[in-house]
């Protein structure tokens, strides 16, 4: 039961990431079209919305990627360890991620969102609250924490995908 709810949550996160990415493509293309299509008023909000969406897609996507061990790491030295040490190292890695995500993304992100919302800071064109963009930090942080716990509980996961090597 719990695992079904969990799988649904992960699927939901994937769909949200896809939808936000699609919106990002449409948004920036609209910016180009609006500038050159006669009769349409050029819009400067597309740039701002694009940045907003980029933060969300990137951070939610990075949590999903972490679930599949897709982030770049220096795994060479670990391969030289014996199996017992490798298992121990794997646990240390997850703990490091827990500390980073728990303190840096969740707690730090919460402070960032709270302070920014309290200051009432708005984006220049859309007049949206900047705090809502920053909310991507603690929310993706929560997923990082959840995925780290999932890893620690030892659930079988897809192995590292080849396309994980980014700009290469």
């Amino acid at each position: 039961m719990l695992s079904r709810v969990w799988n649904l949550a992960v699927r939901g996160l994937q769909l949200l990431t896809i939808a936000l990415f699609a919106a990002l493509v449409v948004d920036v293309l609209w910016g180009v079209v609006a500038r050159y299509w006669p009769g349409i008023v050029p819009s400067d909000w597309t740039e701002e919305l694009g940045i907003y969406l980029l933060a969300w897609v990137s951070l939610l996507g990075s949590a999903l990627t972490y679930r599949e061990h897709g982030h770049l790491g220096l795994d060479y030295f670990v391969t030289l360890f014996d199996p017992a040490a490798q298992r121990l190292t794997a646990i240390i890695v997850e703990l490091c991620v827990l500390v980073f995500a728990g303190y840096g993304l969740c707690y730090g992100g919460y402070r960032l969102v709270a302070d920014t919302l309290a200051s009432g800071q708005l984006t220049p064109v859309l007049q949206w609250r900047t705090g809502y963009m920053y909310m991507s930090v603690p929310i993706s942080g929560a997923f990082f924490v959840a995925f780290a716990i999932e890893h620690l509980l030892g659930r079988p996961l897809p192995s590292r995908p080849v396309e994980a090597a980014p700009s290469a």
Binding site: I51, S62, G73, C96, V99, G108, V137, P166
Partner: protein, 428 residues
């Protein structure tokens, strides 16, 4: 060296060695060193640097170039580019090897992903070369090294990453600056292949298809680079907008003209692009947090003074930096290496009068070599698996190409005009 800096270094190297993702290492090092400064809201600062580091308009080009690269690679683009390359150089003695390198260069101008080049070109060309009597390990080494040219030939995401961390460097200038060096690296690889052909006496050609049909078939793919660079240079759109137009064009080709991508596959392609993008973005975000700590500790100044203390000569300093980056590149992937070392090294070389665009090309060419060297070499590893061989067997065959790439790197380092001539001609 201050205590805080020592803490930062120790934390970073220790967790890095254990295989913690580089982005998390950077984040942890930033947390620990900012906390050790005291009197600053550590969590707030780290989260803020991550968020504002990612939320920048120039970086928007990265997800779009990733996506357009995937869309272009999904269809039969590699096959059409191979045909074009075969029509161009297949008739030469030993032409089969040159076709592989030429295809990689053409591919780079469209997709900009060396990894995609290795898998889609290698899976076709490596078996071809093996059938025609080339050694399997040689073919794998050739494919792995040739594929890196795509990262120097525009469009190139690593250049966008460099431009953003370097600050005030034009993406358009970097793109144009990469053209000649990318071709130069490709030529040097082909020269190495030429000597191998002569030595082994294998002069296998590739039956060239008629040029015109091959050109017509490949033209729609090649038009992408014309649209992207023409649009940027003509001032029609920014680099970011060009990347979005590239996505629209790739969609038009893949879904519309060639009908090689079904609409049902699009969500999956979007998700894969989002994940690839996310890897780069999280690295950028956390490296921005780390660089706050570094500049607070005046690390770039310290490193700069140390470098300039060794020598005031640009020739010597660039040599030291190249050796350092070659060593770093053997262990570390390109994006984290660029993010970590650009802010530290760039101020020092700029003090010596090196153009930041030129330095970007040096850095990227250098780190390309690292993609083909063990113990960590993405292209080498992937090519070995595509070619069904082992890394240990391929490494001896990489050596001549390694030398060729180092020669190209030295030429690019010491003849700035190779990089700067084209952007200057275009007034960038």
């Amino acid at each position: 060296m201050s205590a805080e800096l020592l803490v930062l270094l120790i934390v970073f190297i220790a967790v890095l060695g254990l295989g913690v993702p580089v982005a998390v290492c950077l984040g942890l090092a930033a947390i620990v060193s900012i906390a050790s400064i005291g009197d600053v809201p550590t969590g707030f600062l780290v989260a803020q640097r991550i968020a504002t580091g990612i939320a920048s308009f120039p970086l928007l080009a990265i997800p779009f170039f990733v996506l357009s690269g995937l869309l272009m690679g999904e269809g039969g683009m590699a096959r059409r580019l191979i045909d074009l390359a075969a029509a161009l150089v297949g008739h030469l003695p030993g032409g089969l090897a040159y076709v592989t390198t030429t295809t990689c260069m053409l591919f780079g101008a469209v997709s900009g992903s060396a990894v995609a080049a290795v898998s889609s070109i290698g899976s076709f060309m490596i078996p071809q070369m093996v059938t025609k009597g080339y050694g399997r390990d040689f073919s794998v080494a050739l494919t792995a090294t040739s594929a890196t040219t795509g990262l120097i030939i525009p469009p190139s995401n690593i250049m966008i990453v460099y431009a953003v961390v370097a600050g005030n460097v034009s993406v358009a200038a970097l793109f144009m600056a990469g053209f000649v060096p990318g071709v130069l690296v490709g030529l040097c690889i082909m020269i190495a292949a030429f000597f191998y052909n002569v030595k082994t006496g294998n002069q296998a050609r590739m039956d060239p298809p008629p040029l015109m049909p091959a050109l017509v078939a490949a033209l729609p793919s090649m038009l992408l680079i014309v649209i992207v660079l023409g649009g940027i240079l003509g001032g029609i759109f920014s680099a970011t907008e060009a990347s979005a137009v590239a996505v629209a064009y790739a969609l038009l080709l893949g879904v519309g003209l060639y009908r090689e991508i079904s609409v049902r596959k699009l969500p999956d392609i979007l998700l894969r692009s989002a994940k690839t993008t996310a890897v780069v973005m999280l690295l950028i975000g956390t490296s921005q947090a780390m660089s706050w700590a570094l500049s607070f500790e005046r690390v770039p100044q310290t490193v700069g003074e140390a470098l300039l203390g060794l020598s005031q000569s640009p020739v010597v300093v660039l040599m030291i930096i190249n050796v350092l980056l070659l060593v770093v590149g053997t262990f570390m992937d390109m994006t984290p290496a660029t993010l970590i070392f650009t802010p530290i090294l760039l101020p020092a070389v700029m003090a010596l009068g090196v153009d930041p665009v030129h330095f970007g090309i040096i850095l990227i060419t250098n780190l390309c070599i690292g993609l083909c060297t063990p113990p960590v070499g993405t292209c080498l590893f992937l090519a070995s698996s595509v070619g069904n061989t082992t890394i240990a067997r391929v490494v001896p065959r990489v050596v001549p190409f390694f030398i060729a790439m180092v020669v190209a790197l030295l030429l690019i380092t010491y003849i700035p005009e190779i990089s700067l001539w084209l952007p200057r001609r275009l007034g960038l």
